[in-house]
Point group: none
Chain length 223, copies 4
């Protein structure tokens, strides 16, 4: 599982030339990366900005050169860590040409590789925990992650129903049922994991797919 490696680098502006310039441009990512580590470990409110600054190797005041407030830093963490993966999913959808079940599987495995299996997996827990108290962040997450993510799955499901591969179903609920176990798996790792037994993600995903395949498949195909 190499997925715990740092992710944000992918977003580095490409025109960086000198080392100094590179450093200056990299600053925000270094800060959001440090923030992500601490946010997912302790929660947003429970994380002190002193600790974020210390982990990033800067002084506390420097944070305020790049982010207006703690909440803005939170938003930036999502913007930089999660949002780019949605574009990747949308491209996958556009280019896909196999069965709908294969598409579905590909989307979910992609989620696991880019989010569920990395430290970004802590973000859903963060959103769940803090959204009530930070509505601006919640709104941003809703508009830029949830809506777009569900659109991907909805497209895959509707394609399968239209082709007769899946039996007819309520798409919105089906989406919930499909993603809930994955989200819970991710959430679990950042909450009660320490006193619950460890899950094997591979087995978990396989079992989930297996149940899904049978649950979604049109009845005549099981005869």
């Amino acid at each position: 599982m190499p997925s715990i490696a740092v992710v944000p680098d992918a977003k580095l502006s490409p025109e960086a030339k000198t080392v100094r310039r590179r450093r200056k441009d990299a600053r925000p990512s270094e800060l959001t990366s440090a923030a992500l580590d601490l946010f997912v470990e302790r929660g947003f409110s429970a994380t002190r900005l002193d600790d974020v600054a210390a982990r990033a190797g800067v002084s506390k005041g420097t944070l305020y050169l790049y982010f207006d407030s703690k909440e803005a830093l939170f938003k930036a963490v999502i913007e930089e860590g999660i949002v780019p993966t949605l574009a990747a999913g949308e491209q996958r959808l556009a280019e896909h040409s196999g069965t709908s079940m294969a598409l579905l599987r590909e989307l979910l495995v992609g989620w696991w590789q880019q989010i569920g299996g990395t430290r970004l997996a802590g973000v859903p827990k963060l959103i769940i925990s803090e959204s009530r108290n930070f509505p601006e962040v919640a709104q941003y997450y809703h508009d830029n992650v949830i809506v777009r993510g569900r659109a991907l799955l909805r497209a895959a499901l509707q394609r399968g129903v239209a082709s007769g591969e899946f039996r007819p179903l309520d798409a919105e609920t089906a989406i919930d049922v499909i993603i809930a176990p994955l989200l819970m798996l991710a959430i679990w790792r950042f909450s009660l994991c320490f006193c619950a037994q460890e899950r094997d993600p591979q087995t978990y995903l396989e079992t989930h797919f297996d149940l899904l395949a049978n649950g979604l498949r049109a009845l005549e195909s099981t005869a």
Copy 2:
């Protein structure tokens, strides 16, 4: 034990001789009830004890007559609100005599009626959000809610597999896959609900059961 339900009238009943005593007995429930409201709305850490006290109509100091600390109040909320429902589920399991799918459905519907559809649905979100920072509460919840709850579902699944009603499956993962959508539904209502569209629980549960029925059913029974 419906004691965590709203108890607003106890304060006014004039027909009691030993008003003082009745009050003393009712206090803990009044306090945990107020605490539950605020905890699920704002999170445990973000809730101020002043507000809990104010909502219960007492002064801040009174809380400490009944609970040693804020964390003890948290534990009491779980103890009084959630733990009793486990006993109800265990009784259901012992008395059941229908199909395993019916038992499973009964357990899940029971959960919805006693927890998922009530204010208590906020507790799982609470635990997820705060367990890292309050290990004692987390341990208590794990031992008294998670372990016992999973044991119920495990028994139902194993019964179905043994009778040939369900096809063989990895019980632990199946439990996760079964409860995850329900938990997420509950969690959702206390986090991003305000910016996401409302779910209809009835439809949701039915779709979930439907997928489950097909996913779990042994193949020969669908032929």
Copy 3:
């Protein structure tokens, strides 16, 4: 050293007849006795009235039936525990007929037996610690304990100087020098005792007397 036994009983009103009556009259002494224990152990401010009440076996409210405030209880502790010993000393002085050094010794040994060697030894520490913040108690202690106590020693010293047994000296300072080691011995037992080595009071008093005898004695008597 039987001196740790309860002291206040000596002050019980003698007309008590029935058990009920005895109990009622004894209440204040039971309360001051419990208070003394805790005051000398933890200090006045650091002692909670709950604990005083608990140790006396009554409820917290009961304290306020007998004492107007915590400070009034403090004063009563002194009034009941210390003040009566001054009368004893004054009687000793009046009746004495030996050498002045013997009188001095008798007064100091009497102090040790009635105060220094009992739990009342904690009172000087209490006064030193708290007098600044409780001036009324301080004034009471000054007027009723310090002034009368010093008068006793002053009389003994002046008698010795007048008879030529002691050499001429500044009485006030001599009093200080004489009582300081005794007070410190008492104070010590209620402050740093736990990390300092234990003193043997017997040796201590003897050494002190020895130094005193040589220090006070008129020069011609040492020739």
Copy 4:
């Protein structure tokens, strides 16, 4: 190290370039100085950190930039105010070449000049009053002040006994008897002084030395 002395001008000196830096360096002493004033006046527990901060002209939070807790501030007051004087005494001892009585006198006069006659005289009272409830501070004081201070006097006494200048005596008790009047004099100034008559330290010390000289002197030397 006179750093615990009043430092009011540091705040105003305009001739410094790095005002910030000088301020940072001076802060701890400003804070311990303010703390000492209030601690000896009201006692440690009864002193509010708000007041310490106000007296030092800073906000409450600033205290926590320099000291981890109220108790750490207590310890720093001792560390900065008292401990350095022990080193001075040890040097005095090492360099002394007169009679043992002169050495003893020098040590005691030194104590008076550096502690007994200054604000620091309140520290012994503080320790006596609060040590029971703050064992860590008590231990620190014991190890770094009491043990070292007694060692000084013990050396002086043993030197005098060895040379035949003093008669044989129990050193530990003699130390107690010697320092008790001085400690009591210091303690008095911070407890009952306001209702007791003022002592003249000069007379007091002289009388004490006089009694001591006679009490300690070997008998043959008085013949």
